[in-house]
Structure formats: structure tokens, C-alpha cells
Amino acid sequence: MTPWPMLLPEGVDRGSAAPVEAPPRSPWRRRALLLVPLGLAAGAGAGFYAMLRGMQTGDYDPKGLPSALLGKPPPDFALPPLEGSDRPALTAAELRSPARPVLVNFFASWCLPCVVEHPMLTRLARAGVPIMGVAYKDRPEDAAAFLRQHGNPFARIGLDLPGRVAIDWGVYGVPETYLIDRRGIIRWRWAGPLTEDMVSRELEPLLRRHAA
């Protein structure tokens, strides 16, 4: 099998007096190649640093998940009302073009962070923000008892016992809160309980922006 033409043939004999002279290949190319690992490592390092900083400021969140429905209207649905809550049912029609931006909050009586965020919802409702509730995989008695105990900030409530409507919204846990603007488009989704900090930093500016 003959070696490739660019290789010297097996003729570098031992004892040959003059080694083969050749014009030196560009040393810069080799230098450049040798620097590639360093360059890649530096780039990766910069990226990791940006991630760490982002985790501290909240810009980078390895656990967060953006909603697939951002910029789209909510899916079509019609949920029955929640017995014992004194609120009408919730359907997609009510969210089509509300008079002002609306929050849709998925909650459940068995969900601990929902209890934690409930005062925040009450506060927002008192400030005049219309909040719609969806009881996710909750028995009507339990959900109604929950609201009696912790307060009922919702203007309308739908009962999603099988949880299918939630899946159509892309909900993957409770609590989750969606902001719907006056044209009926989902503008923002928050997975997790609403906190003081997050409400003032993100939600309130959004409410103001879409109120006009």
C-alpha cells in the first residue's frame, strides 16, 4: 500500500547524509491552531461567568420556562363555575377583549405556595386588577373551602378538575399566573408564587403599559 503522495516515501534512509530541506510551512498557522483550545476555553469561561451573574440578577434562570403562548391568544375553553364560590364561570369569551388587562391565576387548595401568594392576589384585586381564577385538579368542596379561608380575590372562577384546560394553556404546575392584555393576547406568564419583589419589578410596569 503506497503512502499518500504528500508523505515522504520510505526513503528517509538511515545514514543518508543530507536531511530533506523544505521551505518551512507557515509557523503562524500552527500557532493559530494551538491557540484554539485556549480561545474556546476563554469563550466558555466568559459564558459561564455571564450565567453566574445572570443567576444572581435573575436574568438567567436555569429552572424557568417561558410560555409557548406568549404573544398568542389563550386557547378556546369553557370551564364550569366553582360551586360555593359565588363567582360566575370562566370561558375564553371573557378573555377575548377585556376592558383592562386581566390576570388569570391557576391555583389549588393542595398547593402550598398558592397559600403563600394569596395575600398578594388579594392586594392586586383590591387595587382594581381583575383576576380570573382556575381551580386546577381540585375538588369543588376543597377549592371553595380554600377560598373561604384565605379570601376570594377572583372575579370569575373556572373549575378544571381533569386539568386538561390547564394543559392547553401550557401549565405545568401551580401556581401560575398569566397576564392578558386588552386585545386578548397573553403577554406574560409567571410560574410560581407571586412575590412582592417580582410584582413591583415586572408585573406592575406591565399592567401600566397595557392599561393604556
Binding site: L7, V12, Q56, G58, A191
Partner: protein, 182 residues
């Protein structure tokens, strides 16, 4: 509340909220399986392509979380009504976005990812070719004889006189026991 504290609270709360049942063993429910083994096999194959969003790196087939169960049920319902694999996956993707797909779609954003095997191979081959070209054109000193090589090793102290170092360039298939290097 400071940013750090809020971050921690949010993370903890999120974890508490979103990890419902311990999503450890997917035992599942016999009732949810499809009767037709071919359809059930399709459902399982699709399930393995979908991420369980409340678990740590599992597919919906491997997890017993509520959400995983619901999605498994939905996949099977869709298949039973005659939808194709692509349609079922699109159904879930429409609701949950790219993150739910364990096999990333081939888009401009992921082109580099999918190209990695080819790029790595090609890049490596080019590198090898470039290096061989360089070797071929570098000044090559004449090769030492075996005796010269042994003398050099003694001078460098790697070997005492009379000690035999492993032979360097014997070809395979020589007389038996020529100590073919491993």
C-alpha cells in the same frame, strides 16, 4: 426583599409547587395503556421524545408525576383517534414550546448543534492532514540505528548497560516472540 433572597424564595417555592408527587418510579396504571400493542409501542416511542417538565431530566414515559401521566394519557388519546406521530408531538409542542422536545428541532438556532458530529470529524481530519503535511516537510534527522538508540538511552540514564528496553519499531508478524509491543 433583596434580589438574592427573592431568588431563593422563588426557587424554593417553585420547586415545592412544581414537584408534585415524588416523580421517582414510573409504575403507571394498566388502564392507561392502549389495547393495540402496535399503537401502544408508538405511544411509548412518542413519550420518550417528550420531557417531563416537573422532573429532573426524565421523559414522560419514565416518570410518575401527575403532569407526566396526563400527557401520557393525552398522547394515547390522540393516537387512538388516528393522529400521526408528528401531529401528536406538534400538539404538545404548541402548548409547551421547544423545551418539551427532547430531540431539538432542526432550526437555525440548533443547526450548529446537529452539525457537531460532522464538523468535529471534518475538523479533525483537516487537522490531521495539515499536521501530516507539516511532518512531511519538516527537516527530518536521519534515523538512529538500534545500537545508537540504545547508547542514547544509556546516556540519558533511562537504561543501564545490558538492560533491554522495549523495542521500538519491530513490525508485527516477525519471528514469534519478538516482543511485539502491545
Amino acid at each position: 426583599m433583596t434580589g438574592r433572597a427573592a431568588f431563593t424564595l422563588r426557587t424554593l417555592a417553585l420547586l415545592a409547587a412544581l414537584s408534585a408527587a415524588p416523580a421517582l418510579a414510573a409504575v403507571g396504571d394498566p388502564a392507561e395503556r392502549l389495547r393495540d400493542p402496535a399503537l401502544e409501542a408508538r405511544a411509548e416511542a412518542i413519550g420518550r421524545e417528550l420531557r417531563c417538565l416537573v422532573c429532573q431530566n426524565q421523559s414522560i414515559e419514565d416518570s410518575d408525576a401527575d403532569l407526566a401521566r396526563d400527557l401520557r394519557r393525552i398522547v394515547r388519546e390522540q393516537i387512538a383517534t388516528g393522529r400521526s406521530d408528528t401531529e401528536v408531538i406538534r400538539f404538545v409542542h404548541d402548548r409547551y414550546g421547544d423545551f418539551v422536545l427532547l430531540r431539538p428541532r432542526f432550526t437555525a438556532a440548533t443547526a450548529l448543534l446537529w452539525a457537531t458530529p460532522a464538523v468535529a470529524l471534518a475538523g479533525g481530519l483537516l487537522l490531521i492532514l495539515a499536521m501530516r503535511r507539516r511532518i512531511a516537510t519538516t527537516r527530518m534527522p536521519a534515523e538512529l540505528t538500534e545500537a545508537e538508540r540504545r547508547r542514547l538511552r544509556q546516556i540519558e540514564g533511562d537504561e543501564a548497560p545490558g538492560e533491554e528496553a522495549p523495542p521500538a519499531t519491530s513490525l508485527r508478524g516477525g519471528p514469534g516472540g519478538s516482543g511485539t509491543p502491545a
